[in-house]
């Protein structure tokens, strides 16, 4: 079971990483959007692998189904042949890749320096150690309840056992704020994007 988990991780993560790199490398914006589609799908696969079924599903629905379609609309609305393939100069490529490699190096340094904080060393969290090894049975059991827990947490009516520190988590207020936010976005986007007469005398 564990080897299956590893195998799936390497396959999905590898594909996701490659698609992400392809997104960056391609000059054609339509192809970039297509590679992005695969990348987002791969990330949702990672979410499923991590036992976060709801998040994965939402990722597929909202991101792959919604956001990406928006992006593709954008491509279609602005698609004129000179903009499809805009070349970046090689010097800019060089400097960007160099800075990117630096950032990746530093991030990896950071990642490997958390050893000991989440590692198997914390004996007071035997559960964490199990999960850390990707124990599939345990994570399945955990997620089957987590969808309901998430919903309850959003509504603030959680009735399960309290968290380790005795507190209950409530996300009603952030949930409402996000809702309002989305409404504002909806109106704002409609306002900004609505067809209007082009101002000929710009600048």
């Amino acid at each position: 079971m564990e080897s299956m988990h590893s195998f799936l991780f390497w396959v999905i993560a590898g594909l996701t990483g490659l698609c992400a790199i392809a997104t960056v490398v391609t000059d054609n914006i339509v192809r970039a959007a297509t590679w992005l589609l695969f990348t987002l799908g791969g990330v949702s696969g990672i979410f499923f692998l991590l036992g976060a079924d709801l998040v994965g599903a939402i990722q597929l629905l909202v991101y792959v189904g919604g956001t990406l379609v928006l992006v593709i609309f954008g491509v279609m609305l602005t698609a004129q042949s000179p903009f499809l393939n805009m070349k970046t100069s090689s010097a800019e490529w060089a400097i960007s890749i160099a800075v990117g490699i630096m950032l990746l190096t530093f991030l990896c340094f950071a990642v490997f320096s958390i050893k000991g904080k989440f590692g198997p060393a914390d004996a007071q969290h035997p559960v964490a150690q199990d999960v850390r090894r990707g124990d599939a049975a345990d994570s399945d059991a955990a997620t089957s309840t987590s969808t309901m827990q998430i919903g309850q947490a959003f509504l603030g009516v959680e009735n399960g056992p309290p968290r380790g520190d005795g507190k209950r988590v409530h996300y009603l207020l952030p949930f409402e704020i996000v809702s309002i936010h989305l409404l504002v976005v909806l109106i704002g986007a409609a306002y900004l994007a609505r067809a209007k007469k082009r101002r000929e005398t710009m600048l």
């Binding site: 970039a32 992005l36 990348t39 990330v43 990722q59 960007s96 800075v99 958390i114 850390r132």
Partner: protein, 105 residues
């Protein structure tokens, strides 16, 4: 292929997505390309959130909820950004971000 998959593996994947997004933002001259870069960065963050929620039971709920917020806000962000791009296109008749340099010092 040997060995258990640890938290570090997911974090490295997230970092890779993040860096890809940053490089994408820095190299794409097309405004939509920049938007794609932003999506990659947000996804990198999302992977980190869910990975932490998975590997630390104390954050099980928080990690997922934050990932959800990230996804939803990304959707809103994409809508607004797209509107801005369309507006920009109307005004400049191009989507080349290099032509938007009015803020130059």
């Amino acid at each position: 292929m040997s060995g258990a998959i640890l938290l570090e593996h997911y974090l490295v994947l997230g970092a890779l997505l993040f860096v890809c997004g940053a490089v994408c933002m820095a190299t794409k001259r097309n405004a939509i390309g920049v938007l794609i870069g932003v999506e990659l960065v947000l996804n990198g963050a999302g992977v980190n959130f869910v990975a932490f929620s998975h590997f630390n039971p104390a954050f099980r709920l928080e990690g997922m909820i934050f990932a959800l917020f990230v996804i939803v806000l990304a959707a809103g962000e994409a809508a607004v950004a797209l509107a801005i791009v369309l507006n920009f296109y109307n005004n400049h008749t191009t989507v080349d971000v290099d032509s938007a340099e009015e803020l130059k010092g």
